[in-house]
Amino acid sequence: MAERHFVPKSDIEYTKADFTSDQMVKWCPGCGDHAILSSLLNTFPKTHTKKENVCMVSGIGCSSRIPYYVDTYGFHSIHGRACAIATGVKLANPELSVWVNMGDGDSMAIGGNHLIHAVRRNQDLNITIFNNEIYGLTKGQYSPTTKFGQVTKTSPYGTIDYPFNPGELVMGAQGTFFARSLDCVPPLTTDVMTRAAQHDGASVVEVLQNCMIFNDKTHAAITDRAVRDDRTIVLEPGKPMLYGKEKNKGIRFNGRCLESVTIGENGITIDDILVYDETTEDTGIHMMLARMKGDLPVALGVIRNVKKPSYTQLYEDQMDEQMQNGKYKCVDDLLNSGDTWEV
């Protein structure tokens, strides 16, 4: 099957300012969304997409206000349905670069069904999940990603809901692209968003985002500067998975599971460290990487990136084939097909 690209490229050298809208940004001061917006605005010029062909689609929630702040076509829709609406946008006009922005509640509670099916079909959408592990716009109820046991307005005795890990969900749905970033590291966010845009098919970027009003410091255990290098690992294709302030810690597969090891201790050498490959078709290792926490560093960067024909490509191939070789060329042909008779 010939690989096709449907979104036309632009020769214009856009800047961040070209994509910044004139609307006042109304998020709380200090909200992680500001940084994610900035990363996104920096991403668009790097994709070389014609500005008119960019379409932002969002659901409902704090993060879903984002279409108003981006000077492109945009649709701020209803709670949970952004993936479904975006799917229709892309099917009606495959030349559009379609971006979906959702929060954790929007994408994995009310909109969970649409997310998994968009991912399963590998529909060509760039999906960003702003994960602050709380319902912010309704003022602090637990979400599908809230940590087990956490006290929130609707879990005064601690939640008894086991949380989703978005990466596991995406891979369980046969996702072809999953990346993770932190709101507080905008260059990394821009980098993974750019790679998401280059991916043909459904790409999901999870950004761990801080809601300083209702769930402040929920990601602090990994994002604080003091611990970040030891608590996270930025994956780099083709390189051994090393991390830590001294870059002396690494990820090893011990035959049963992943473990964190230190080079030079217990006879560990660089050869024991897993070399990262984002393109393995089998989700096994990617799933393990997406799940890392606790003693293992949280994986950041592109965790999975495999090639598989996108829904857009398969759809357009079928359309083109039928348009060229189909039985009917116009509706009159159809109306007069089969058994008809003259009176």
């Binding site: 008119e52 209803i78 006009n93 009159d332």
Partner: protein
Amino acid sequence: MSQDQIVNKDDIVIRFAGDSGDGMQLSGTLFSDASALTGNDIATFPDYPAEIRAPHNTVAGVSGYQVHVGSHIYSSGDKCDILVAMNPASFKSQLKWAKRGATVIVDIDTFTDEAMEKAGYTENPFTDELERAYTIVRAPITSFTAKIGTEKGADKKTYDKCRNMFALGMIFYITHKTLDKTYAYLERKFAKKPEVVELNKAVLTEGYEYADKLELIHSHIIEVAHADMPKGRYRNITGNVATAWGLLAASERSGRRLFLGSYPITPATDVMVELAKHKSLGARVFQAEDEIAGICSAIGASYAGALACTSTSGPGLSLKSEALGLAVMVELPLVVVDVQRGGPSTGLPTKTEQSDLNQALYGRNGEAPLVVVAASSSANCFYWAYTAAKIALEHMTPVVLLTDGYLGNGSQLFRIPKTADLPSITPRLAKPNDPNYRPFRRDEEKYAREWALPGMEGLRHRVGGLEKCPDGPLSTDPENHALMTKNRQEKVNRVANYIPDQEVTGNPDGDLLVVGWGGTSGALTLAVEELNKEGKKVAYTHFNYICPLPKNTGDILRRYKKIVVCELNNGQFAGYLRTQYPECPMTQYNKVMGLPFEVGELKEHFNKLLNA
């Protein structure tokens, strides 16, 4: 037979009944097609259970297919003149649909003790009383078919599937028709299996010849009058296919890509099934993960510039409510096809009803007006789908098209139009780089906004469910919300300026005005026609434009002292009319049985009103 044995009739109703999977629908279709090809008007209606293959030989598993042929056919008919019952269960459950005096053909071979017990018979089903009321023909269908099958070297599984051909052959004889059209059909359908063609033809012929030898039948040969139809090219079409084709025609005439986002649901699925075949005509069909994604994908497609549609039935429309409100708010064109079924909840999935009207009119949060139209025959589903699309695209509004299971699954003759002769459709597209473009700027006449599509230069804008001001940005200003609410309503109201006046048929000077809407027009038309022939004075008006109503509706209603609003629900349209015309006293005739109206019951009720 000699010519004097033949009874001439205007029409005849035949009902084929058997186990689901006995091929009753095929028998019915072959008969109706052959009739249409030989100059009759036709209408058909399948009456099947929700179960795909309920237990063999049980009443739950009986599937029926009714065919009405004649000179002037409005509906698939009330009770039948001929009933074919392929097993005891179908005899038991379907006899109630036979007229007194009807010819009832049973496959007597199937009346074994076991099958009769399964059907719920404890004694001989052919009581003296039944023998007096009907002409019961005990035909050995299974054994004759088996004999031919064995002669032709076919296995039991294959020849058992041909039993329906035997019955069909008998029907052809009784209705004084030839077999050649059906031979030709079988040759086409099984072109790759000549042995199957031979077997089916042989069984069909045997049935025909068997009937010829039956004295019992000779006094019951019926010749049905030919139809006097306007000149033109005709075909048979079901309502769901007609709906799909109407949308395709609207796409071609408007120059907008057709998009259908739907989820399978009885009895609407066939709209999606049909459109899925037509990628060559540009139909972009998306089978969504659920009803909500069906409409949401359509809304997205509409934003991107498609003639966007979603098809569903009652429970699906409930699921689409919130998104329908979004379509109202963003003022995008959208066609929602609701093939109504018995409700509430799962209700009667395979049976017909008109009880989604209130849901279509009011089933959204907030002040959320939209356009509602209804088809009134299987064939005119084509025109109403086309009209719904035209209104949506020209007035920038969601439109709900109400059809129902009876129209959708039933079939009728359809005079094939030329698409070039259909009314033009001019979508309200914005002009690229128009410096004056504002998302919610309206034109003075229609109050419709312009449609700016992603990809168009210089028209970048944002839409969404939050209230906006006319220039586009968000607004929570109280005055603005009042204005936008008023404008959205006014836009829908003004559709009335673009639709024809409501007509009155029957005897316009009648003592009684019969009011109907949607899929009931066949039975209502015939009831009113027959009463007027009998010397009564009955006027009749049938609504297809539901919201907004035609502008002369009040003038019509105010002319009559006696009005009866007839519908297959508890009075939803009557209630809607009362809120708009409280000065007009209206009575109701309602039926909520999952069944269409019968002419007989309507006439009886109208007579009562006339005599009161």
